[in-house]
């Protein structure tokens, strides 16, 4: 359950279902109780009506009712039945409707007592009310009778069923409406979160620098923290670079003084040659360590850099520097291809590779950039028509400057620097033969993180 939306929806739905279900059950029960009470009332009133309809003979003994208070008593199978029994259980009278039926009226009630019960038989479902009556004749002898009235439950059941279906239909409708309302409320309530997510994606894609939207109070803390985090990481990165620049400047200027104070061609003097060589080595160590330290590496919040533009800038620069060589450059750049990372790092990688091509080509350099098949990846190839690099020299070229004690004076560390930055970004660098005749360098970067 990883979505707040579905969590809230599930919890609210369960609560809603429980609440509506309990309400339904309570209402159903209450309706049933009151319907049964009403049934009992009605049966009681029939008994009183029968009592009122009963007559006395001359001796004051009971004559069962002749005029029945309710026509249904006279109609067979009408569903309303009555029977009067003596104290020994022998029926003295029954209503015409009861013909041929037994409604289980055997149990005698003491006078004034009543018993309401439900009779469940496969052929017959009845509510029965038995009421005990003492009839005193003129001689003062008491005869005990039990009046039993029964009514079929069909009507009652129909009433209950009607109520139930109305009840559940209403509750169901309410549940539906509430669910819809709840869904809408959730969507509306969680919209700021979706906005923040979308805005963060904008930043990742490089369309925005920071979270600029108008966020609700509850999120303001989060978004301002994110903004200051983004700002902070940028500030740290640039402060870091600046101090590295300062360090480079303050280390390299003294080296430059040392280097240019060495007399040039007459370096027959061993100590001069030694100083010159050591200065060169110190320079390479500084270059290597400082440049490696400056690589920012992959970060999710990095803006994507258009690779083609970087290649074009570098080619313009190198054309200027290698003006005399009149290099014919053939570019095939996919404008959509991007690199997720720092522009300075990409410039460093491609600058070193392109310069290598310019340096060793005879007259032609070809550079191609295309988006890789997997989203966010990019493939860059740089070729020249120079003498090419032998396979066993590649490693040496890439290792140069990595170990301080192996550095060869007078040789650049550009290629090893480039390969190291590529590795830090999880990319691949390979060397093959180019159809132009020289080397083909291929760099590929995987999709962004």
């Amino acid at each position: 359950m990883h979505s707040i939306h579905s969590r809230l929806l599930l919890a609210a739905s369960l609560v809603l279902a429980g609440f509506l279900g309990a309400t339904g059950l309570a209402l159903d029960k209450a309706f049933r109780v009151s319907a049964e009470a009403a049934m009992q009332e009605r049966l009681q009133s029939y008994i009183y009506a029968l009592l009122a309809a009963a007559d006395e003979d001359s001796a004051g003994r009971m004559i069962p009712p002749r005029e029945l208070p309710e026509p249904r008593f006279s109609k067979p199978d009408s569903g309303l039945y009555a029977v009067i029994t003596r104290h020994d259980g022998e029926p003295v009278w029954h209503a015409a409707s009861l013909t041929g039926r037994d409604i289980g009226a055997g149990e005698q009630q003491t006078p004034g007592e009543r018993r309401f019960s439900r009779l469940e038989r496969p052929d017959l479902q009845l509510y029965t009310l038995a009421f005990g009556v003492a009839w005193e004749d003129d001689a003062g002898t008491e005869a005990l009778y039990t009046f039993t009235v029964a009514e079929d439950t069909t009507v009652f059941q129909a009433e209950i069923a009607g109520f139930r279906s109305t009840l559940w239909r209403w509750l169901g409708g309410m549940a539906l409406v509430l669910m819809l309302a709840q869904g809408a409320i959730l969507r509306w309530g969680l919209r700021p979160l979706r906005t923040v997510t979308a805005d963060l994606q904008q930043i990742e894609r490089g369309h925005a620098e920071r979270l600029e939207g108008d966020y609700p109070r509850e999120l303001a803390g989060l978004t301002s923290s994110l903004n200051s985090l983004i700002g902070h990481s940028k500030a740290v990165q640039s402060r870091y670079r600046n101090s590295l620049d300062d360090l480079a400047h303050s280390l390299k200027t003294p080296l430059a003084i040392l280097q240019s104070s060495q007399p040039g061609n007459d370096a027959a003097d061993d100590s001069h040659a030694l100083v010159s060589e050591q200065v060169q080595r110190m320079d390479e160590i500084i270059n290597h360590q400082l440049q490696r330290a400056a690589v920012s590496g992959r970060s999710t919040l990095a803006r994507p850099v258009a690779v083609g533009k970087v290649v074009q800038r570098l080619v313009r620069t190198l054309d200027k520097v290698y003006q005399e060589k009149q290099v014919a450059v053939d570019l095939d750049l996919d404008p959509e291809a991007t690199f997720t990372g720092d522009e300075a790092d990409l410039t460093e990688i491609l600058g070193n590779l392109l310069e290598n091509a310019y340096k060793y080509c005879r007259s032609a350099v070809r550079a191609g950039v295309k988006s890789a098949q997997h989203a966010g990846g990019v493939e860059i190839s740089i070729e020249d028509d120079g003498p090419g690099i032998a396979a066993d020299q590649v490693d040496m070229l890439l290792q140069r400057g990595k170990r301080m004690d192996e550095s060869v004076p007078g040789q650049g560390i550009g290629m090893s620097m480039a390969s190291e930055i590529i590795a830090l970004y999880g990319g691949k660098l390979s060397f093959t033969a180019s159809p132009l005749g020289g080397t083909r360098m291929r760099v590929s970067f995987g999709p962004s993180l």
């Binding site: 080296l255 280097q259 600058g351």
Partner: protein
């Protein structure tokens, strides 16, 4: 050739000035960007060497301002970091080449020569005017294949004349490009240099490479010795 060095580190600045002067350039120095801008606007320079990390006005900004004011002499930038972002920024702002610190002086000189030659419209490192050829990379001269030894100052005079072959160069212009301002500007000294050059290049007096245009100056003949 008149060169400006804009570098904030005193030792390096003075060292460059001295070594460049010793090789025959006229050198001015500036310690920050604003001073550099002043020199560039007020003096007829042939080239400037500008450090990227300058106080007051950064090297990049200085170059940008110069180029926006149509000051178009070649500019070589010096950078400490030597990362590509710096190089690209520098060259895009209008510089023509870069050199990463520390550098060997010979390397600097080779770059200066190439830039100066390119700025004068020569695309190859060897300047050839008829029988006389001057290799700017090796700083050597041959006349009809025979090597000629020149002093540093003689070389600079010849290089300047050959870079501007076919143009009339006034004595003042030549003097300004050979001597520091504080030197004695006696034009007789220049005439002595020209005389020596003529003797060394053309001992038999058959080529006549350097013409004297009375009252106007000198001109190096593009096809010296062929007609």
């Amino acid at each position: 050739m008149h060169i400006l060095v804009v570098e904030d580190e005193t030792r390096l600045r003075e060292q460059l000035r001295d070594r460049l002067r010793n090789t025959g350039y006229v050198v001015d120095i500036a310690a920050d960007g604003e001073e550099g801008l002043y020199y560039c606007e007020e003096y007829p320079l042939d080239l400037a060497i500008i450090d990227i990390g300058l106080p007051k006005l950064s090297g990049i900004e200085l170059i940008r301002r110069l180029r926006s004011r149509d000051i178009n002499f070649p500019i070589l930038i010096l950078t400490a970091r030597g990362n590509w972002q710096d190089k690209v920024d520098g060259l895009e702002s209008g510089a023509d080449d870069y050199l990463v610190k520390p550098f060997r002086f010979e390397e600097l000189e080779a770059r200066l020569n190439a830039l100066l030659r390119r700025a004068s419209g020569w695309s190859k490192p060897v300047l050839e005017c008829g029988a006389i050829s001057l290799d700017t990379a090796r700083q050597s001269i041959t006349v009809s294949g025979r090597p000629v030894e020149l002093t540093a100052f003689e070389y600079r005079v010849l290089e300047y004349l050959m870079l501007h072959a076919g143009e009339v160069i006034s004595k003042t212009e030549l003097t300004n490009n050979i001597y520091q301002q504080d030197h004695d500007r006696d034009s007789n000294v220049l005439e002595v240099f020209i005389g020596r050059l003529r003797r060394k290049l053309d001992p038999d007096n058959t080529l006549g490479p350097i013409e004297t245009l009375r009252g106007r100056g000198y001109r190096f003949r593009r096809e010296a010795g062929t007609g």
